[in-house]
Amino acid sequence: MKMKASQIGIGIVCFVMAFAITLQIKSVKWSAANQSDMSQRISTLQEELKAEKEKSEALYQTVIQYKDELETFKQEAAQSSDVSKALAKQLERLELLAGVSEVEGPGIVITLKDAAKAANNDDIVHDMDLFSIINELRAAGAEAISINGDRVVNTTEIRCVGPVVSVNGNRHASPFEICAIGDATTLESAVNFPGGPLEMMRLYNIEITVKKMNKVKIGAYTGNINFQHATPAVKED
């Protein structure tokens, strides 16, 4: 069949067009299928996350239950003999110092709130601000301190994590409430003195209130303390 060059040219072009269109349709369908895979993965992960959260909530409840039982045993043990009474008293005193029991007493409550119109990074509360306040409180003799309900113990970290602050592994956002038990007047002047941490923060429009209270209640430390490296030192004579 004698074909003219034009016919061949048109034929080749038609071949290329048909090929390209079919391949394109195939590719678009394939990439659409791929993307729906990804959204399926996301929903699977979300389900797993929900299940894990529920599990950890249940475990937390169990821990609280065990702590209550332990408390009952302690009470019973304290009644049985003089030795155990003395031990129970010692235990109670150590718990108080360690921060694993609820305490109350006179003190102050400080609230810190990010500037209403936070223009830049300086207008919000940072971990270092909380740190310097706690430093002053301790120097002024604070015996128990908590941030937004999280008890500050000697292993507590206070760290900026993105837009929030992590205390004892729990995330807290503005407003921050710092409760401290100690001599209320001393504590108040310790944080309010000119050049102190609160004055600096007031310059940056952070909203601060300081209240002296006759009775401040501070909760116990709710986490687990497990020393893996430090052991009681052996006494050398």
């Binding site: 060059a5 034009s6 038609c14 048909a18 390209a20 391949l23 195939k26 590719s27």
Partner: protein, 127 residues
């Protein structure tokens, strides 16, 4: 005529059987290139009807349009300007115009006036 249909079918079959895919990053460029190719094909058909078809013009137009459309779309991507829109509108318009011409010819050729003269026998004019 038969050759054209054959090449169409062959193109479709080959693309279906081939295991590869166009990478998703390139699909927008291939899409606009397909539009450019379609415009060229319709333009070619319209030229055949008007007996003005020249293979050189057709082939150069096809390749040139495809390359130009893809290239300008890519540049538009870099510049964050939707240049491809121009091609979509222009090619779409030309396809519809040429389609009108084709349609008129196909509808009218069973009536008295036959505008398509016998095409030249010896292939197309050289150079």
């Amino acid at each position: 005529m038969l050759f054209v249909i054959l090449s169409l079918v062959l193109g479709v079959l080959l693309a279906l059987l081939l295991p590869g895919y166009i990478p998703p990053t390139y699909t927008p460029y291939v899409a606009i290139a397909i539009l450019a190719g379609l415009d060229s094909v319709f333009g070619g058909a319209s030229a055949v009807i008007n007996n003005q078809f020249q293979l050189k013009v057709f082939l150069s137009g096809f390749i040139g349009n495809v390359v130009l459309a893809a290239l300008l779309t890519y540049i538009g991507n870099l510049l964050d300007v939707d240049i491809y829109l121009a091609f979509v509108i222009v090619f779409g318009t030309r396809i519809l115009q040429n389609f009108t011409i084709i349609r008129r010819y196909l509808l009218n050729r069973h009536y008295s006036f036959h505008p398509l003269q016998k095409p030249k026998e010896e292939g197309d004019s050289p150079s």
